[in-house]
């Protein structure tokens, strides 16, 4: 037995000498969170990761199954504007006609599996997570204090931007201001952060913007950093948030909700339970602050005023991203790829060999918002189904104001001005224009864009919005009419349109809303404006009949007819999105009313 013991002991000792080491992961050069933030370059590279996951890329662009961020924003195959009266699309890619137009979206379909819809809350939270990681670790980095503060402010802004993005669709949301971690079942309850009230969410975003604004620069001297957050962006976000918060959807003068809600807890999640006119005053001040920052502090920011021709001038804002009007824009990709062209360009312009273009077509409903050059309304006396001569179509559209000419590619015009190639949409043999040709196709954002040309940047904030925000808020508090006129007319004068004149609050409200539609057309404002104004449910807006002027290749002269191209379903519950069913199933989220 003695030998047995000895041998056993030897065996055991040899085996267990360095047993733990035998199974230890060898020391390697794996990058950990510490080695990222111990290095200046890696810290910066992590900040770029925050940008890529927490910026708003509203352009629909290439989507891929492997990276859901590709279909984060911008509905698959089209802009979100397609859900409003602005645009109509066709083809197999766009998801909006399938879901939004038919009203068949719900808590189960806004899931990561179905890439059809325009927004995914879990992707926004991924950006928030990255911002939190950055903010919690940036102090370790070797940057000087002021640069750390500035970079932290960038992450703080982006985190606030994602919260806003969630809020404008969902109301009060779960605020995540630290990195959440779970390593056992016991941690699960701790990360089920319930929704904050709408008021708390607004307050959070506003205070975060104020905090970020303290440290952000007014400008980055090196233009290669175009697209990084400047102080004006923080002010702009705060201004937009306060405008939204003051609007009827959340701050109804009679305290009414968009669908009946009896639960007082839910009531506070979807808006302010009682009306407070002072919220408009806060919006006035915040938007004025943006204009003041631009005029006095920024040293560069102003409404773009280049070019003699107002059409060129307006068009240039969306093509030339170093133009001084843009406060913040996001880069998508260095070159316009195949899907970008397929989704954004008219079918006739897309490169050969691609099929199923989305063909963003401007509706007749929206065309009516454009005035003629002299500031009067166009006479639209067409009756449905009657054929009118093509020359009348050309004349009526041709008379519309510069922003229409810049934003809409019409039949009988050149895609590239001066090229001599004129496209006629009535030619039925024309490739890939299909049935929705008529008023014309969207050309804003994509003038001059072709396959592999530099892709445009998506504008998150540009100064014109804040003139209109300011005017709208000031009108709601019955502010100085001259000041209101001034703000609206700044925007109109830029495109050589005659001034408007204040008559009364109600008429001014309509003027401002119409001006906003025209100035900010297709920029994905209207989709949210119609909600906050609670006007989406009006006939022909986000509900009911959508028309076009349809062209026919008749002899001897082509003709056009007013025709309905779409009928859309709207239910009032859609003023706010549903939370994903799988989140509701976890029991920490109270679902929005009606879903």
């Amino acid at each position: 037995m003695k030998y047995l013991l000895i041998i056993g002991c030897i065996l055991i000792s040899t085996l267990f000498f360095s047993c733990e080491d035998y199974l230890e992961k060898p020391i390697s050069s794996d990058i950990t969170v510490d080695s990222v933030f111990n290095s200046a370059i890696r810290t910066e590279q992590f900040l770029w990761n925050v940008y890529s996951t927490a910026s708003i890329y509203e352009f629909n662009h290439f989507w891929s199954g492997s990276d859901p961020r590709f279909y984060h924003y911008g509905a698959s195959g089209s802009l979100v504007s397609v859900a409003t009266d602005e645009l109509e699309v066709e083809g197999t890619y766009p998801a909006i006609p399938r879901y939004f137009h038919t009203g068949t979206w719900n808590a189960a379909t806004i899931d990561p599996g179905s890439w059809g819809l325009e927004f995914m809350s879990h992707i926004a939270y991924q950006g928030i997570r990255n911002a939190n990681i950055f903010m919690e670790n940036v102090d370790k980095s070797p940057f000087p204090e002021n640069e750390k503060n500035s970079m932290k402010a960038e992450a703080r802004f982006l985190r606030a931007l994602m919260h806003f993005d969630l809020m404008q669709r969902l109301g009060g949301i779960s605020i995540v201001d630290h990195v959440l971690s779970v390593s056992s079942m016991n941690d699960v309850e701790g990360v089920k952060i319930p929704r904050s009230t709408y008021a708390q969410t607004v307050d959070f975003i506003v205070s975060e913007c104020e905090e970020a604004a303290k440290y952000l620069p007014n400008v980055y001297e090196d233009t290669k950093y175009l697209g990084r957050i400047v102080k004006g962006a923080a002010l702009a976000l705060k201004a937009r948030v306060l405008l939204y918060a003051a609007s009827p959807l959340f701050n109804d003068p009679e305290g009414k909700t968009y669908v009946p809600v009896s639960d007082p807890v839910l009531r506070e999640l979807i808006g302010y339970p009682t009306y407070d006119p002072n919220r408009w005053q806060l919006a006035v001040e915040a938007n004025k602050a943006v204009l003041d920052w631009a005029a006095n502090e920024s040293g560069w920011c102003k409404l773009y005023d280049g070019f003699d021709n107002p059409v060129d001038r307006y068009e240039e804002i969306f093509i030339n991203h170093s133009c001084p009007e843009v406060i913040l824009s996001a880069g998508l990709m260095q070159n316009a790829g195949g899907y970008f062209c397929l989704f954004m360009l008219p079918g006739q312009i897309i490169p050969q060999g691609q099929n199923n273009p989305s063909n963003h077509a401007v509706t007749f409903n929206f065309t009516k918002f454009y005035q003629k050059n002299d500031g009067t309304d166009q006479v639209w006396d067409e009756e449905e189904g009657v054929a009118y001569p093509y020359s009348q179509y050309k004349r009526k559209l041709g008379e519309l104001e510069p922003r229409f000419q810049a934003s809409v590619f019409q039949s009988g015009t050149e895609w590239s001005r001066g090229s001599g190639t004129v496209y006629h949409f009535y030619e039925t043999n024309t490739l890939q224009l299909k049935g929705i040709r008529g008023v014309g196709f969207m050309r804003k954002f994509v003038k001059g864009v072709t396959q592999n040309s530099p892709a445009p940047r998506w504008i998150t904030f540009r100064l014109a919005e804040f003139y209109l925000n300011y005017a709208e808020a000031l009108n709601e508090v019955n502010g100085n009419p001259g000041e209101i006129e001034w703000a609206v007319n700044q925007v109109r004068r830029r495109v050589d349109m005659p001034d408007v004149t204040y008559t009364n609050q109600n008429e001014m409200r309509q003027i401002i809303r119409r001006e906003r539609a025209v100035e900010l057309a297709f920029e994905e404002h209207r989709y949210f404006d119609l909600r906050r104004w609670k006007t989406a449910s009006e006939e022909g807006v986000m509900k009911g009949k959508i028309y076009t002027l349809k062209l026919y290749d008749t002899k001897p002269e082509p003709t056009y007819k007013l025709e309905q191209i779409s009928s859309r379903v709207w239910e009032d519950k859609m003023y706010l999105y549903p939370f994903r069913q799988q989140e509701v199933d976890l029991g920490y989220v109270i679902q929005n009313p009606g879903w």
């Binding site: 950990t32 990761n49 990276d67 959440l180 390593s183 952060i193 233009t223 880069g331 976890l586």
Partner: protein, 1071 residues
Amino acid sequence: MQIMNDYRQRESIKHFLLTVRITALLLFTIALHTMANTGYSPNSKTNDLENRSSQQSKKMITGTVADDKGIPIIGANIIETGTANGTVTDMDGKFSLRVNDDATIRVTYIGYFSQEIATAGRTNLSIILKEDTQALDEVVVIGYGTQRKITTTGAITSVSNEELIKAPVAGVSNALTGLTSGLQSVQVSGEFGNDRANIRIRGIGTLYTGGAAPLILVDGVERSTYNDIDPNEIESLNVLKDASATAVFGVRGANGVILITTRSGKEGKPRVSATVNAAALQPSILPEMLRSYDYALLRNEAERNMGRTPTFSDEDLRIYQSGEDPIFHPDKNWIEELIRPLSFQQSYNVNLSGGTEGVRYFTSLGYFNQFGGYNKPEQDFGFSPEHSYDRYNLRMNFDFDVTKDLLLSVKLGNQVAENIYPTGGAWAAFDKATSTAPMSSPGFIDGKVITEVSGFPQGVREFNPWVETGPTSGSSYGLQEKNYGNTINTNISLRYNLDRFIKGLSIRAMGAYDSYYNKYSRRQHYFDTYTVMKDPESGLPIVFRNDESGPYYSLGENISDGNKWRKMYGEAAVDYERAIADNHKISGLLLGTMQKAYYPNMQYKLPTAYIGLVGRITYDYKSRYLAEINAGYNGSENFPEGSRFGFFPAFSLGWIPTEESFFPENKILTFMKIRGSYGEVGNDKIGGNRYLYIEGPYALTNDGNARTTFGIPGVNEATYPQYKEGLPGNPNVTWERARKWNIGFDMKLLKDKLSITADYFEEKRDNILWNLSTIPELVAIRLAPANIGKVNNYGYELEVGYRDKIDAVNYWLKGLYSFSRNTIIFQDEPNRKYEWMRRTGQSVGQHFGLVFDGFYNTQEEIDDPERPISQWEGAGLKPGDMRYRDLNGDKRITEEDMQPIGYNDFPEINYSGSFGLSYKGFDMTALFQGAANVSIYFAKNAGAYAFDSDWGAAYSWQLERWEQGRYERGEKISYPRVELSPTLGLHNYQKSSFWVQDASYVRLKNLEIGYRLSSSSLKQIGLQALRFYVSGNNLITWTGIRYTMDPDARESYGRVMPPMRVFNAGVNVQF
């Protein structure tokens, strides 16, 4: 051509090297054999002559060996004690041997008591061997050792070499089916080289079903290529089921263990056994496809159902029916065209074994080949496009007695497999053959392959499956892929007997080295393709060559790191075994193991490691009371320091009442053992992730389109690479724990004719590594798995055997029945709105779906305002659509109406019944095998839909569709109204109890009839035995599946070649 020549040259070099290797093996074996034979005197004349000159006092003895019933024993070993001199008995039980005058001979035969007989003064012996009914010496292989079967207390079943080699199939995994209880196997595919069955032991006890496979060891080392081993090389295969048997494998033993032991030589005359098999194979079942006329009619109906204009005119229909225009109105049965009705299989094995006291050897050389599968196109490719699987098996196992106490064993195994298949995997060819519409292409015209047709009826899709994929494949190229794999297994072990220091003590050590190499290559050959069009004037076909085609050869090879790995394993042990005062037998084992494997493609590209310690103590009092403690102490790299090692103990007890003095001597119950065990075992696997406790590395990426770009487009815009967070680790992670109980008994009754073994087991798994699934999206990162899951599993097994003889007819019967059922106790499931939606409480992999409740037959039923609206009905339902049960009564059919339907993919019940009989030289065995409580989900991938993707095939059973006339005539309806392009998103194709079907089946799995030639005639040509046999596999299948699919098919695998029906003939020669 240069490339092709190079290729051929390389191929011939490779074959040359293989030949060299085989020759070397043979030469080595022969040399060794000659060496070993020095001093050995086999019963041959030449040796006699040699011996006569050196040793004078010799005599020749002859004799017969028989059992106590007088039946001759063939192959009994006769050895002159103290020498290496010996022989074996022949077919009549006779032997003759030249021995020393006063020699003592020992006669041994497995299953019988050995006898020693003094030959002094005798030359003719008549020896009766007594049967060792309790097989006291019979041993079973257990984890890290062997045990006497009689005193084993674990739940272990064994499969012998003879049983394994009966099945004329490629690999061990398929040969096992139906041979042992408590083991389930599902063979999804019959594709050559890719037909391995999925094996589970006692069902599934964990949540991650991919981690439920048993641990399979070959000669004590985990070897994932076990299925490539020639069954002829296998001595025994043991299935370890309960904790007492598997605890020694600790962290890897929870799913059961299979131990494969290769054959070793036995002392005695060299024996050569050569076997040749040739077999014809055919797919066990193939769907019957609709031909053009019926297809066109049905398609027109589908289009009318969808409110579209039918594609085919009456004139088209007439032409399809008459078959007068095979070019523009083809009528192809693509299954017949592409799939061979018969494929071929051949296998050869020659093995040599024997030994003297100094050395024992077993060497084996095997070749296995399958070819056919798909028809060849008529083109000359410059290479054979034949779908084939070739495997060469070499094995050399040697045991050397270095000294009296030191045993050196060397085991070398080599498996070389080469699989050639049409591109895309052979399944692609099968897929196209079973999914192409019959009028899609004329195929070949005068040997010219047609890729374009101009002149089909308007709208008909041109699609030539010969071209698009399959044997010619790769759109107008001849294309072939090849996979070559070479595995080398080596074991070297030493055992040193320390009896002379401490009685019963020995030490041993084993080292193993495995390497695997895989090479993938493809070659292609462009060939001329042709367009056929209708002459606008005459209407006659014109065939012309396409521009882009032309002869071109290319060869691609792809050698990737992932396909090359090596593994090193070592173990060292102390064994102790001793009887004290005769009544107390104790044994002990202490063993340490280490393993390191290098798979370059693994996560982190670091070698994986296992380390562990094994302990065993057994105690046996008078072979009546048995007790055993087994324990494994293992570590896994997946867990953090501190919780890296786990201790897995198991305890078992046995009682043999028939050994008790009070147990009455009787003829009914001759043996009974009652045994029970409890133990804990572990599992450390979830997917391929490693080091689950550490946070994954942060990674710099600059790919994808969601980029960070700053700067002015076209001027100084640039994309910036970004660091991304690594996946979090779970610092608390540890192994999955299985607690297992087993109780069983073994009985022998009626003079040992009847044997019964029964086991009942229960298993509770907890700490199952599983992904938390109630984490809100706010966390926004995929978390490391945590030890949260709980699954219970229970079941029972019964084995009944009966063996007897009537006159000269020996016969046996055997029945096996196994049942196992698991239940998910916890898996962190979110709240479900309704109880029936809950996955927890169901079995792992339980199918969920809508409850099919017949068809809507009339428009009134559709228009009924009470009819539930389906989430998937789109523009509304029509008569002929499916009616589903609205479980929650909300008048809507949604996901909320999906409940458990059927079972899961692995059968809960497996059973088999077999019998065998032998009469003189004639023998026969039959094996019936079945499964129950199992479901298959049929959908798109399994080919359950007609007109899939618009122009998919339709099958004859789909004619039983709902159609107004058929409904009115009261005909049988087993398919909804036909539509084009069915997809999962449509109402009728939701997962439901219509598409999930009972996959129970019974097969005549195996049948063998043989005849062994009598010896006297053979002896003259120097043969010991000669046996001819015919056998078959998967001969008949009875199943209730509505569709023409094999019950082992699975939706998730797509349309694959079903398992093969095999008709085999073979001959075995021994000399």
